[in-house]
Amino acid sequence: MDMSQYLGVFLDETREHIQAMNDGLLALEGNPEDQDSLEKIFRAAHTLKGMSATMGFNDLAELTHAMESLLDKLRKKELAVTSDLMDLIFQCVDALETLTEEIAAGVQERSSVAELIARLHEHGEKGGRAPVRRPAGKAPASEEKGEREGGAALVLDEKEKARILEAQGKGLKAYLVRVELEKECLLKSARVFLILRNLEERGQVLRTDPPVEDLESERFELAFSVVYLAPLGPEEITRFLQSIAEVEKVEVSPLAEELTAESSFRAEAAAAGLSPAAPGEGKRPAGGQGGVRNAVHQTVRVDIEKLDALMNLVGELVINRSRLAQIGVTARVAVLNETIEELARITTDLQALVMKARMVPIEQVFSRFPRMVRDLSRELGKKVNLVIEGGETELDRTVVDEIGDPLIHLLRNAVDHGIETPEERRKAGKPEEGTVRLTARHEGNQVVVEVQDDGRGIDLAKIKEKAIQMGLVTEEEAATLSQRQLMNFIFRPGFTTAGRVTDVSGRGVGLDVVATTVQALNGTVNLESEPGRGSRFVIKLPLTLAIIQTLLVGLGQREVYAIPLENIEEIVKIKEKTVQMIQNQEYLLFRGQVIPILRLAELFATPDAAARGEECNVVVIRSGGHRIGVVVDHLIGQQEIVIKPLGSLLSDVRFFAGATILGDGKVALILDVVALPALAQEVRTSA
């Protein structure tokens, strides 16, 4: 049987199961009594075994089989959870991962699993009793429970009745088709797809029970029902459905007279040999396959380009809504305004939904780190506790995809260079176990990801020495640099202060890659460190939210700029005479703080800028811990805008984060508040 069409599904599911095993093992390692995690790992191994056997991946099947046997003993408490055993199982999971990726790459299981299997058996024997083997391919008892399914309350709505009647008018017959799959059936979704396609080829599928989405994501046990319209007799339908592999049973019952009866489907379902569902019963019994699958996020994969296109369309809609709103203000027609308000509500909801669809929790990246840190710390003989916080923080899918590698570098760095050996730590009066903290949180329209360790920290003197040695700065220059400037040398290519080169890091690659990747994402990375106390890497990334709230400001008679509201701390009117000039830079004393003033019209050389009067409007912007007062000619108002790229021709213009189209069709540029202070400084010094 040709399985290639299922390969994609197989790989996706296998990866999910491997991740589930990894998660379970880590939990189990933390708490050897954790029976739930053990069950989870066991089930994942069991399912994997069956799947890979069906697909003909024998190494994978044999290894998972051996693992399953061992896990079975663990869960029956015939064996105790020891650290040796955990290591072995972790290795097996790694091997599974390797095998899976080999299969994905089209290499047929090149890695050998014989040794691992032998070791698994060896461990199993230690347990004393002979392994209670379950014959391969046969499902455990928990899955054999007869479960009601495919027969929930199916009540036809008016539309469906109408369609049936219409179809009958055309000579089609209506059926309730109940299909039951074989118990051993793997990749049920693929099977369902095949069945539905076969049905569609010959007639119309009106609806399915459970709904198609549930079928596709395998949220059903073995049977499902289809309301089917076709010009065929029941025997014919039964025949072609039974010719599909792994179909256990097909029941076709005509659906005709009862159509008018409200409960026809429930009756039909019952007639088809199903026990009626208790009202409100929606939960699947735990322990069955359905239970395992529910633990994994149910998702539909959507091409990111489609989401982008959708996002753009919503953007257009928002622009047109603003235009309509303006027309509404002038027109003053009550009916129109009501409609506009309704439209505004709908667009807002739609917009929120589309944005959400593009956002994924950073958890997706974080989830692989506990395992990595565990392995690394063992390898290096260190004790490290990885604390993850804010995994639920959501950010744009594209950013999530890119941020993994830089974080791996930083974590490896923290464990290898940051955290000391237990002995060193004891001497330094610290707890033996070092802590690496990985946190994510929203801050304004940015996401801040921090990697912090309580290790030995980074010696500024060493960095300075190294920078001079590498010819990055002269000794005199180095003396004038700020702490932060010195720290940033660490992100230069080839820069390493590690005395020794370990397997893990210290080859001078890494941090420059981190900096490059983060910058490519329009983000920033900074390092704070204190010798003896630890280091903290702070990565700031844009959410790349395509729609933001802004304050529109005007320069001269024509120019309009948008400032992201997130970065605005306050808007004040100040007297010109309160502005102080210190060393060619204007400052303002504001709430007890001295903040630099930036005159936007001067910076942008606006031709018809307003003359300086007695007072001026200052927008106080907060960006990267700094505050800056931006002087503008007029304040226009708050508006939600869609960020549009300026295009590659203008990608060198760093003052703007993009542009937007206002309600009146005019273009406004969006200030890049993150870059603004530094850029203004550059312009001033070069002038």
Binding site: E559, V560, L646, G647, L649, L650, F655, I661, K666, L669
Partner: protein, 154 residues
Amino acid sequence: MADFPVVIFRLGQAEYAVTLDQVQEIINVSEIARVPHAPPYVLGVLNLRGRILPVIDLKKRLNLGRTEIGESSRIVVAKVDDVVVGLLVDFVLETTSLRESDVESAVVGLGAARGREFIQGIVKYQERLLTLLDLGKVLERSSEQEKDAARQAG
């Protein structure tokens, strides 16, 4: 030899041609928003049906001085390698077909001409001489000229 369609337009008194497949459309000049600190030949951006279209002053780009926007001014919306840019021109004359064999790519004396790097060749058409522009080069960001310009501006 094959024929290829072109759009012919005027910058000052001289006539220029760009191949039609690089032209998306020709639009009237609407309000252009200035982009501070952009290269000097970039006039700004405008709203092209909800998209941001950067517009460049082609005359300035070719080192021929500045364009005064007038009644007959048009923006030729060019698309090269997915980069869409508006080119401000003084007058759009016609679209026509040119013969490839009429393109003279190695014209003596052109080497010294300003903006030489943007010129693909000279074409004789109905007793007139057209300059066939290489739009790929015109839209290239990192041309030497631009670096000079940026240096001057900075």
